[in-house]
């Protein structure tokens, strides 16, 4: 193995050393239960509130108390979709989601459907963009919630959230956005976006796994998913995962400070990768929007080959990436995002997703751009689809 290149930061980022250092005291030294009125409790409560303030600042939320700490982006999305819809069901039982949402949103919508809600899904165009007009057309008097993600983790497309939120507000519905893929990567400001609720996860911006948050604007009724005590204002009961929360706060603080610098670095690396792959591997398309995309995200479909085999060969060369191919998924289903964008199953099979991060260098990108083409050639030479393509080409 000649290299060790991790281009799977969208799957998860490592925890920054400063973040880990901030977390460590909260395991065995500062261990009190923040619920309690004694010195042990006070110190931990203060740490949580500092983390809450830092997390709120990262997304431009004026009131830290609007942040609810959760265990993950998935929990935040469940809490938002189910909690808000159920909290408003006296006003109506219709919700709207896009076709390319994360499963934590889509499957939450499906659960609501089983419970008697009506769900409208709005499509995306070939670049994975939701049209604000499509959302506007789907809005009804009894629409209580609309959920459209800020950026898609599979194809990197950033949605026109401000425009969509505007349409939703006009209709008087609540608007939630899953910003798990974008918070900490792109500047996110809840006031500017005009959203009512927003999900995020710490392990997307160099914080720990097991820490997420949902921001909910004051005044939006939210039914808790779990019943219990008064933690997180009763909206998320259970003793807090204090080290993870502290880590999330620290990661948020650093992300905010380094946002512009990171974005510039990521964009350069991303564009070098996109340019390299597209120029070195024929019959490859960039998936997602060409410009309205996450600065760290490069995704492709490589024709006539299958993604899992490509991942395995890349892995044998020390390169870690992802794929949305059917064979890569445990359920053996092609990425619903690629299919929603109108790509055929055959093309979706060749999905390649690369995300750069703080540990990525130009040399890493060059290594991948150099390593990938012979792997693709090798798989194509094995592929009956490639053979057919060549024969058809000659026949014409």
């Amino acid at each position: 193995m000649t290299g060790r290149v991790y281009l799977d930061y969208a799957a998860t980022t490592p925890v920054l050393p400063e973040v880990l250092q901030a977390m460590l005291p909260y395991f065995s030294e500062v261990y009190g239960n923040p619920l309690l009125i004694h010195e042990w409790g006070d110190r931990v409560r203060q740490a949580i509130e500092e983390a809450r303030a830092k997390t709120a600042t990262l997304i431009g939320a004026a009131r830290p108390e609007e942040i609810i700490f959760t265990s993950s982006g998935t929990e935040s999305n469940n809490m938002a979709v189910k909690g808000i819809a159920l909290g408003r069901q006296d006003k109506g039982k219709h919700i709207i989601v896009s076709d390319i949402e994360h499963f934590s949103v889509l499957h939450s919508a499906r659960t609501l459907q089983k419970a008697g809600f009506e769900v409208t899904t709005v499509p995306v165009d070939k670049n994975g963009v939701v049209s604000p007009d499509d959302v506007a057309r789907s809005l009804r008097k009894d629409t209580v919630l609309v959920s459209v993600m800020h950026a898609n983790g599979e194809v990197g497309t950033v949605q026109p959230i401000k425009e969509i939120a505007g349409k939703v507000k006009e209709a008087g519905a609540i608007f939630h956005t899953d910003a798990v893929a974008s918070v900490g990567i792109l500047p996110v400001n809840v006031a500017e976006l005009g959203v009512d609720a927003l999900s995020m996860a710490a392990n997307q911006f160099y914080g720990p796994k097991g820490a997420g948050a949902l921001w909910v604007r004051r005044g939006v009724r939210l039914l808790p998913l779990m019943d219990g005590g008064v933690q997180e204002d009763g909206r998320r009961p259970g003793t807090e995962n204090v080290p993870a929360i502290v880590g999330m706060g620290k990661a948020a603080e650093i992300a905010r400070k380094e946002m512009a610098e990171r974005a510039a670095k990521f964009t350069t690396l991303r564009d070098r990768l996109i340019q390299g792959v597209l120029s070195k591997v024929p019959y490859t398309i960039l998936t997602g929007h060409p410009t309205q995309r996450l600065p760290n995200h490069a995704s492709f479909c490589i024709e006539f080959i299958e993604g899992e085999a490509m991942l395995m060969l890349l892995s044998s060369q020390g390169v870690a990436v992802s794929s949305g191919s059917a064979c890569t998924s445990r359920a053996l289903k092609a990425s619903h995002v690629l299919i929603a964008m109108g790509l055929s199953h055959e093309i979706a099979q060749g999905s390649l997703m690369c995300t750069v991060g703080l540990g990525t260098s130009e040399a890493d990108i060059d290594y991948v751009v150099e390593t990938l083409p012979p792997i693709i050639t090798r798989l194509r030479e094995m592929s009956p689809l490639w053979a057919k393509h060549l024969k058809q080409g000659k026949g014409e």
Binding site: E306, A326, C327, Q349, M382, P384
Partner: protein, 145 residues
């Protein structure tokens, strides 16, 4: 923990008998792109035996390893013997396959049998015990392909 056995990895990294046979005596094709895996097998028959077997496969690591394994198991066998190779025995020979790969990717024997049937039909002969499995036949409830 690796997803695949050492034997699967070996066949995936160094697949045997990849290619086409220009003047093949029989050709068999299985799979579809929705499923993910497609395999084409080519056979050359001499004196009732499989003198040569080649394949082309579009698919995951398991699909490529299965194809390679089948080709290795089949070469030199009589048509009757080759008809007895099953998808199950191929998986066994590979040291097992992940559960979710048993249906979609484990189609190598089916593709081989189709190629043998193609040959037998052309020659107007009947091979004892040869069954050409329909791809829809897998006995699972939660079918994805």
């Amino acid at each position: 923990m690796p997803v695949y056995s050492d034997k699967v990895m070996d066949h995936f990294m160094k697949p045997r008998n990849v290619g086409e046979i220009a003047d093949a005596d029989g050709v068999g094709e299985v799979g579809n792109p929705v499923c993910g895996d497609m395999m084409t097998f080519y056979i050359k028959v001499r004196d009732g035996k499989l003198e040569d077997v080649k394949f082309k496969t579009f698919g995951c690591g398991a699909a490529i390893a299965v194809s390679s394994m089948v080709s290795e198991m089949a070469i030199g066998k009589t048509l009757d013997e080759a008809a007895k190779i099953t998808n199950q025995s191929v998986a066994q020979e590979l040291g097992g396959l992940p559960k979710n790969k048993m249906h979609c990717s484990n189609l190598g024997a089916s593709a081989l049998h189709k190629a043998i049937k193609d040959y037998a039909d052309k020659k107007g002969i009947k091979i004892e015990g040869l069954q050409v499995e329909e791809e829809e036949e897998h006995e699972d409830g939660e079918k994805t392909c």
